[in-house]
Assembly symmetry: C2
Homo-oligomer: 388 residues x 2
C-alpha cells in the first residue's frame, strides 16, 4: 500500500565548517528580541556561547536567556520560556544545543501565546495550533533527534510522570534555519554520541518496520542505515573523524525530517516505551531505545516477517543459505544487538536505573504506537522483562 | 571530501490519488490572474484540462492560456509567456504537464520582469535574479526531470542552436506547490515513460559519480537507484501498476530535488552532451541520456575507478570474485546498458535522428560539466562516435 501524503519542509540548513558564518545574515531577517535557549555549561566551556553572543550583539539584538534545559526537557521549563517570550516580546527563539534544547524551544514557540493549559491541549490532546507561533531557529551541538529539521517536541511533565511527543503540523513549527557544524559535536561525551547514534538508528527502523510492500522510502531508509553503521564504526575509533561525524550528523537530520517515511506505514512503539522509561529513569533517550529495540523486535517480528528478512539481508548481509525466514530475521536482530554492543551501549534496563517495580508502571503508561502488532500493557511488560 | 552546503526547498508536495483535491485550497493563496501553461493536446484528451479549468473557475480565477509547449521548450515560448504575464498581471503560473512545461514556466517566472536580454542574462551568463519573480506551481503528468521540486529550467534557443540548463537559486524558483498523482502518468506513451526513467537514472548517476569518498548522499542515491530499477521492471510489464508508477514518480522527485547530492562532487557531463544532442535532433531527453551514458562512463571510468566498482557491486550485484577492479567496473557499466535495452531504449545515436555530420557540432558546442575528467571537444567526439 502506497499512502497519499502532503509534505513541505522549508527549514534552511547551513551545513559544514563554515555554517556558523551564516548566523548574522539569518538574524537580519528577524526582529531584535531574541530568546537564547541552551543547556548546562558545555556551550560556555567550548566558547560557542561567546561566539554566538558576539554575533547577536553585532547585529544589535536584545538577548534574553533561558539556560539549564535538561536532557529530558521539562514542561516547567517550557512554561518559564513562555513567560520570557511574552514579557520580552520575543521575535525569535534561538536554540543552541542538542535535540532537547530544540524540542523545548518548539514547545515554547507553540505555547507562549496559547490561552489555557498548553500541556493538555498540545501534548495530551494533540490539538491544533490556532494561536500565534514564535519563530524558532537552531545551532546544533549534538545530533540524533533531527529536531533541527522537523516539528517534533518531546516534553516531560514531571508532576504527571509523563513524557509525551508532539509532532506539530508542518511547516509552522519547522525551524526557520538550522546551523549544523559537525565539529561542534566533537566535544560531546562518548555516551551521548552513541546515544545519538542509537536514536538515529531507531528512527530509521521505526519508519522502516511497517508494510511489507515495496516503497522507495524503504530503500532510502536502508541507504541511511548503511551509511550510519559505516560512519559510526569510524567515529567510535576516532571521534574527530570529520567525514564520519558529518555523515552521522546528516544521517540524523535526514533520518527524521520525515522525507524518508513518506507513503508508508510506520511503527513507533519503541519510542513510546522509551518515553515512559525516560519519564521514570531519566536515562539517555538513545540508550533506552537501544536496549528496548532488540527485545521489542524479537517479540513482534513474526507479524512483519518479510521486512525483517529484508532487514537482515540488506543491512546486516545475513547469509540466507539453508535458513528459514525466521532464522534469517532473528539473525538480523542479533546483528542489530551486536552493533549496539560494539558502540558500548549497556544491554539491560537494570544498568540504566530501571527497577523491577518500575516495569509495570512503564508498561501501563505507554501510549500505543505499534504497527505490525497492537501492543497491550501486558505485551509491553513482557518486552521490558526480556531486557531488564 | 565533505563539502559545506546550504539547502532550503520549500515546495509543498501533494502526492497520491487524492492529490488534485488540494488544488482549490492552494489556489486560494494566490491572486486571481492565472497563466495556465501546458503542452499539446494530451491533457484535453484525458479530461485533466476540464477538471483543472473547473477548479480555476470555481475559485473565481481569470485564466490566460499558453499552450503547445514542446518537449524541448523553446526560448520563443518563454518570451511569449513573458508577454502574457505582463499584459495580464499574472499572479500565479500554473504548469500542467511534464518537465518541459514546468521548466518553461520557471523560465517565464524569472524572465517576465527582467529588463533586457533574459537569454543572455539567465542562461548564457547564469546571472543573479534581481527582478520580481512570478510564483510557479505544477500539476505533473509525466515524470523524470524533478522540475516539480527544484529550480531547474532547461530551454532551447532555436536560433542559436543551444539548449542550456539554468538552476536558479533556491528557494525563489522552487514551485510553491506541486500536485503528483501517479495515475496521471498512466497515459504517457511507453517511449516517454522509459525516457523519463532513463532521465531519473541519469540524474542519480550524475550525482553519484563524483568523489570516491564515503558520503551519506551516495548511500541515498544507491537506495533510489535500486528502487527505480525494481519498479521500472514492473512498470514496463504493467504500466497501470500503481505501486510501481508511484515509486518511479517519487524516485524522480527525490532524484533531483537536490537533497541527495548535498556535500558531494558531481559530474553532469552526460546531461551537457545530451542538451546539445537535443538542440540538434529534438530526440527525447532521456533516450539521448541512455545512449550517451554507457559510452561516456566507459571513456572516463578509470579516473573514478573505486566508485565504478562500488556501483557495479551495490547496484548490479556484480560478482567480484577473481576479477580486477577494471573488469568489475566494466561489468557494472554493461549491466547499466542491458537495463536500458530491457526498457526498450535504442542503443545508438543514429537511431534517434543524429547524423555523422552533427557529431563534431554537438561536441564543439557542449558546455563542460565533467567531474572525474576534464572533457575537451575531442574527448566528447570520441564518446559520440562510440555510440553513433
Amino acid at each position: 500500500m502506497i499512502y497519499d501524503f502532503t509534505y513541505q519542509n522549508p527549514t534552511k540548513i547551513h551545513f559544514g565548517k563554515t555554517a556558523l558564518e551564516h548566523l548574522p545574515e539569518e538574524l537580519n531577517n528577524f526582529g531584535s528580541n531574541i530568546l537564547l535557549v541552551y543547556g548546562k555549561n558545555s556551550i560556555k566551556a567550548t566558547g560557542l556561547y561567546d561566539k554566538i553572543m558576539g554575533m547577536l550583539m553585532a547585529t544589535g539584538k536584545k538577548v534574553t536567556e533561558l539556560a539549564g534545559i535538561n536532557s529530558n526537557p521539562r514542561y516547567s521549563q517550557v512554561m518559564e520560556g513562555c513567560r520570557l517570550v511574552r514579557e520580552n516580546n520575543i521575535d525569535l527563539i534561538l536554540a543552541v544545543g542538542g535535540g532537547s534544547v530544540v524540542d523545548c524551544s518548539k514547545g515554547i514557540a507553540a505555547s507562549a501565546y496559547y490561552d489555557g493549559d498548553a500541556w493538555k491541549h498540545y501534548w495530551e490532546e494533540q490539538g491544533l495550533i490556532e494561536n500565534k507561533v514564535v519563530p524558532v531557529a537552531s545551532v546544533l551541538t549534538m545530533t540524533g533527534t533531527a529536531s533541527e529539521m522537523n516539528t517534533g517536541s518531546v516534553i516531560t511533565n514531571e508532576d504527571k510522570k509523563l513524557k509525551l511527543g508532539r509532532v506539530f503540523p508542518f511547516p509552522d513549527l519547522c525551524p526557520k534555519f538550522s546551523i549544523l557544524n559537525p565539529e561542534f559535536t566533537y566535544t560531546v561525551p562518548k555516551i551521548q554520541m552513541v546515544s545519538g547514534i542509537a536514536d538515529i538508528f531507531s528512527h530509521l527502523m521505526e519508519q522502516y518496520f511497517g508494510g511489507d510492500d515495496d516503497c522507495t522510502s524503504d530503500y532510502l531508509l536502508e541507504g541511511v542505515m548503511l551509511s550510519l553503521i559505516n560512519s559510526s564504526r569510524k567515529a567510535i575509533v576516532d571521534p574527530h573523524d570529520y567525514e564520519a561525524r558529518s555523515n552521522i550528523m546528516w544521517c540524523a537530520t535526514m533520518g527524521l525530517n520525515k522525507i524518508l517515511a513518506l507513503s508508508k506505514m510506520q511503527d513507533w512503539e519503541v519510542h513510546m516505551i522509551e518515553h515512559q522509561l525516560g519519564a521514570y529513569t531519566d536515562c539517555p533517550h538513545g540508550i533506552g531505545l537501544a536496549i528496548i529495540s532488540p527485545a521489542y523486535y524479537r517479540y513482534i517480528y513474526k507479524c512483519g516477517l518479510p521486512k525483517f528478512v529484508r532487514f537482515a539481508k540488506n543491512i546486516w548481509k545475513v547469509d540466507a543459505n539453508g535458513k528459514t525466514d525466521e532464522q534469517i530475521a532473528l539473525e538480523g536482530i542479533a546483528s542489530l544487538e551486536s552493533f549496539f554492543r560494539e558502540l558500548g551501549i549497556p544491554a539491560m534496563l537494570r544498568e540504566v536505573g530501571a527497577t523491577e517495580e518500575m516495569l509495570p508502571l512503564i508498561a501501563k503508561s505507554t501510549i500505543p504506537g505499534g504497527g505490525y502488532k497492537k501492543m497491550e500493557a501486558d505485551d509491553i511488560l513482557v518486552v521490558l522483562k526480556n531486557c531488564f
